[in-house]
C-alpha cells in the first residue's frame, strides 16, 4: 500500500509539494496527472526516499520511508521515464543483477520466465541492452517488478516517448500487475492512457492535489475538461 500524510516538500521558500494526502490500496492503479513542475516526480522521489520531506510522511506498506529507507524498498519497484540499464549486459543479466543486489536470487529459467511474462520477445533475452528500444527496456523494468514480487510499483511517466502499440502493451502489463494486487502509482501526462488503465486519477497543480476521480466514474471528455480547467485553460475546455 502507498500513502502520504500531509507530505510537504520545500526548497527554501518555494513549496513544491503541499500537504499531499494519498492512499493507494493493493490492486489500485492511481494516475497522477499534472503539468511539468506540478509535483508528480517530487512525490515519487519522496516515496522512493531519494529526498527527505520537509514535513509529513511518505509511507510504503506501513513503513515511513524517511525512517526506513532500505526496508521500504524491499517490495517496491520503480520504473522511471527513461529506464536506464547497463548497456553491456543482456536483459537476463540486467534482471539478474538488479534483483540480485535487491536480495532475490533466481535461476536463468526463472529470469527468462519473468521477461516472458513482461512481454519481452524470447529472442531478445540474451541481447545486450544497448540494442533495446525504450519500450523493451520498460518491459525489463516490469520483469524486475515481477522478480521482486513487488507489492508497490512507482512509475514516473513510463509511457512518454513510447509508440502507441508499445504504450498499449505497457498498459496491459500494468493492468495485469494491478489485478495481481500490486498498488501502483503512475505519474503521467497521458490522459487517454490514465483513463484507460487507472482505477483512480488525481490532478496536481503547483504541488497540490486539486482533484481526484474514480476512473470508472468519469468519461475521458470530462477528465480532459477537468484537467484543462484545473490547469487554467478554461477556454479550451469543451
Amino acid at each position: 500500500m502507498i500513502s502520504t500524510d500531509n507530505l510537504t516538500m520545500k526548497y527554501g521558500e518555494t513549496t513544491v509539494l503541499d500537504k499531499l494526502n494519498l492512499t493507494i490500496k493493493p490492486g489500485e492503479l492511481y494516475c497522477l496527472l499534472g503539468a511539468n513542475g506540478a509535483g508528480k516526480t517530487t512525490t515519487i522521489n519522496l516515496l522512493l526516499g531519494f529526498i527527505k520531506p520537509s514535513s509529513g510522511s511518505a509511507i510504503i506498506n506501513g513503513l515511513v520511508v524517511a525512517e526506513n529507507v532500505h526496508k521500504s524498498k524491499k517490495n517496491l519497484a520503480y520504473i522511471p521515464e527513461n529506464l536506464m540499464l547497463y548497456p553491456n549486459l543482456t536483459a537476463v543479466e540486467n534482471l539478474d543483477y538488479f534483483s540480485g543486489i535487491g536480495g532475490k536470487s533466481f535461476k536463468r529459467q526463472e529470469l527468462e520466465a519473468f521477461l516472458e511474462e513482461a512481454g519481452l520477445q524470447a529472442d531478445a533475452f540474451h541481447n545486450r541492452i544497448s540494442t533495446f528500444s525504450k519500450g523493451m527496456r520498460q518491459k525489463v523494468g516490469i520483469a524486475l517488478a515481477l522478480a521482486k514480487n513487488a507489492s508497490v510499483l512507482l512509475l514516473d511517466e513510463p509511457t512518454s516517448g513510447l509508440d502507441p502499440k508499445a504504450s498499449n502493451e505497457f498498459g496491459i502489463l500494468l493492468q495485469k500487475l494491478r489485478s495481481n494486487g500490486v498498488a501502483i502509482l503512475m505519474a503521467t501526462h497521458d490522459l487517454f492512457r490514465a483513463k484507460e488503465i487507472a482505477t483512480h486519477i488525481g490532478i496536481m497543480k503547483n504541488g497540490q492535489l486539486k482533484q481526484e476521480f474514480v476512473a470508472s466514474e468519469i468519461t475521458l471528455s470530462d477528465l480532459e475538461n477537468a484537467y484543462l480547467s484545473t490547469m487554467g485553460f478554461k477556454e479550451m475546455a469543451v
Partner: protein
Amino acid sequence: MYKYNFAYEFKSLFRNGWIQLLTILLFALFWFAFSNGHEKVAKRQADIQAAFDEVKESDQVMLKLLDSVENGLSVSASPWTIPSRPMAVGNYHPRVAAMDPGQLAYIATGQSDLFSHNVKPTTSGDDAALNFTEIINPVQQLFGSFDPSFVIIYLLPLIIIAFTYNVLSAEKESGTIRLLASQPISIHSWVLQKMAIRLFWVTLLLTLILVLVLFLTNTAGNLMELLPIWGICIAYSLFWFALSFAINLWVGSSSKNAISLIGLWLLFVLLIPSVMNQMGSTLYPMPSRTLMVNKLRTIKAEATEKQDEILDNFLRDHPEYAINDPNQGRSFYHRYMASQQLVREELRPVVMEFEDQLQKQQAWISQLKWASPSIMVQQELNALSGTSTKDYENFRKQATGFANVWREHLLPFLYNNEPFSSADYENLPAFKYQPLESKGTSKTIVILMVMGILVIGIGYLRGFGLQQKNNLIIQ
C-alpha cells in the same frame, strides 16, 4: 550484493574493453620499465667490470715490471712509474672501489646513471675530489628514469584515476543510479564494493604482469624478493582507490571528479615533493662547492710553501717513520704526503659541513615524507633497490675510507724507504662494498594502508551523511 557486483562488474568491464586495455597498458608499461631498469643495471655492471679488467691489466704490467726490477733488469719506464716505488703503486695501480648493484637495483634506478658506482682512490689524490657526483638533495634523486618505480609512483595512480573517477558519476549521468537507488542498498556501500572489485582486478593484473615480466626478463629467481615491492604497490594502489572513492562521494560530476583527482595527483606526486625539495634547500642550504674547491687550492698552495716544516711536524707526530740515517734523503712524495695529511685535516670542517647539511636535509625529508605517499613509496623502492641517497652516501663513505686504507697501507713503504715487491702484491688491500641492511617495508605498507583506510572512512562518512539527508541521488 557483493556476489552480484563482483560477477557483473567483471562482465561489464570486460565487455567494454577496460580489462583488456588495462592488461595491455600495464603489461606494456611494466615490460618497458623492467627492460629499461635491467639495461641500466647491466650498463652499471659492465662499467664496474671494465674498471676491474683495467686494474687486472694494469696489475699484470706492474707484476712484469716488478719481476724485471727484482731480477736486476733495466726497464723502459719513467722512474716515477716503476712499481717498486710504493707511490707508483698507490697512484698508477689503484684498486677499484665499486658499488655493486643490489638484486633489485632494476626496480628503482633513480639517478644511478648520474652517480659514480666505481672509483679508484690513489695515494696522492684528494678524497674530496674523488669522482662522486654531488649529492645535494635527496628529493632530487626521487625523479628518475623510466624504471618500474616510475611506473608505480607516477603512472599507476593515473591509470587508477582513469579506471575509477566516474564509478558513481557515470551511474548518475547515464541514469542507472535511479534504478540502483530504488533497490534496498546503500549507494556508498555499493560504490565501495565497486572500488574494492576494481582494486582486486588491478591487484590481480599487477601480480600476473609482474610474474610474467619477471619471466620474460629472466629475473624470475627474484620472485620472493619482489614480495615487499608487490606489497608497496598494492598498498599505494589502495591509497589511490581510496582517494577516488572519497572524491566520487564528495564531488559529483565525472569532469569535476577527474579534475579533482588529477589535482590530487599533482599535489601528492609533484607539488609536495617539489615544495619539500625547495624548502629543504632553503632551510639547509649546501655550502658552495666552488668555495670548497677554492679553499682546497688555497690550503694546498700554503702547504706547498711550507712542505719542509710540514714534513718535520709530520715526522714529529709519527716517530715510527723518523730515520736517523742522514744518507737517506726525503723525496717529493715524503713532503707531499705529509702536506696532504694536513690538507685533509684542514678541509675536514668544510667537508663535514657538507655532510652535516646533507644529513639535515635527509632528516627533514624523512620527517615530512608522510605528507606524500609518493615520496614514501619512492624512498622505500630506492631503499629496496639499493639506490637511495643513504646507499650512495654509504658507498661514498666506504670508498673514502678505502682511500685511507690504501694510503695507510703504502705510507710505511714510503717513509721507511722500503721498495714495493711482488711479494707485497698479494697483501694489497681490496675494496668490498657492504650494502646497507634493509629495514623492511612493512612499516610503510601499514602506513599507506592506514592512510587509505582513513580516506575511505572520510568518504564513507560523507556518503553516510548524504544518505541521512537523503540526497545522495539528487546531489
